[in-house]
């Protein structure tokens, strides 16, 4: 099992971010390196990449606030 973390250096200051959209659904098969979600800081969208291949587990749904380093999902 691999955690999906919000990278600690994804954006350059301490502003709040939100999980904008998951581009795959719960249990979907994803490839390592594929874009699986987007995180929004104000009007800037950041891609979140799959750290490994496997089945996606979503821990933080869309529209929830997220922080740098937070685990937002898992890949089994």
């Amino acid at each position: 099992m691999t955690d999906i973390c919000v990278p600690a250096n994804l954006w350059d200051d301490g502003r709040d971010a939100a999980m904008s959209v998951w581009l795959y659904g719960e249990g979907d098969q994803v490839e390592a390196g594929s874009v699986i979600a987007e995180i929004m800081v104000e009007k800037t969208s950041y891609e979140l990449l799959a750290p490994a291949a496997g089945r996606l587990g979503i821990l933080v749904p869309a529209d929830e606030i997220v922080a740098k380093g937070q685990v937002v999902g898992r890949i089994d």
Binding site: P7, N9, L10, W11, D12, D13, S20, V21, W22, L23, E38, M40, V41, E42, K43, T44, S45, Y46, E47, L49, A62
Partner: protein, 242 residues
Amino acid sequence: MTEALVKVLADALAALAPAHECDLRVLDRAVGREDKLLDALIGDALPSGYLRIWRQAPCITVPHRFGSHPEFRRAAALSADEGRPLALRSSGGTAVALHAGVLNVSLFGLERKGAAPLDPSYRALIGLMSAALATLSIAVDAGPVDGACCDGRFNLRWRGRKLAGTAAAVRSRRGGVGWLAHASLVVDADMDADIEAVARVESLLGIVGAYRGEAHATVAQALEAQGNAGTDPAMRRESVPA
């Protein structure tokens, strides 16, 4: 007048950026080229600081997250029936009306180490656009506008009204962090119709925006109110309808 204004502004912007492309054709899928250029940037096929000046055929462009809404298909069908198909984009924000009267400007940058410098990237874009508008003697600043569609900290404002909106997308790959900051400058438009179309799409997708027409302005309105046409002979006062 719209075409002449678009040309003057595009020429001014192009003169400010050594690496740029300028395609003023009104194309159906111009929004989609943003992603291709961002990929090219990360793949070292595009220089950092590249500027794209472009236009898009009538559409409502929305961020990817709108595409996951259960009512998206219905909203897309209804908007397309009204002549404004929905076009997904990678940047953030909410719905924005694009058409021949909107000049889009996109600035691409690459950071080899560290995070994308977001505020500086917006400021760089706004600096270019401010300089271009200055050629028409239109003075602008940046900031939020209460009651404007797709509001944000980095709107381009003329007399407190929104002239252009901005949004950004960041893409991290092994080679670095590529960023795109883009702006949609309303050169000439029926703002009430644009706002109504945006609000209609957003309401179908569960977003309730209290938008006000007077929160927005166009370059044509600004030019007319300024009472002069700047430095370009093509834009002199007598060529602007009352």
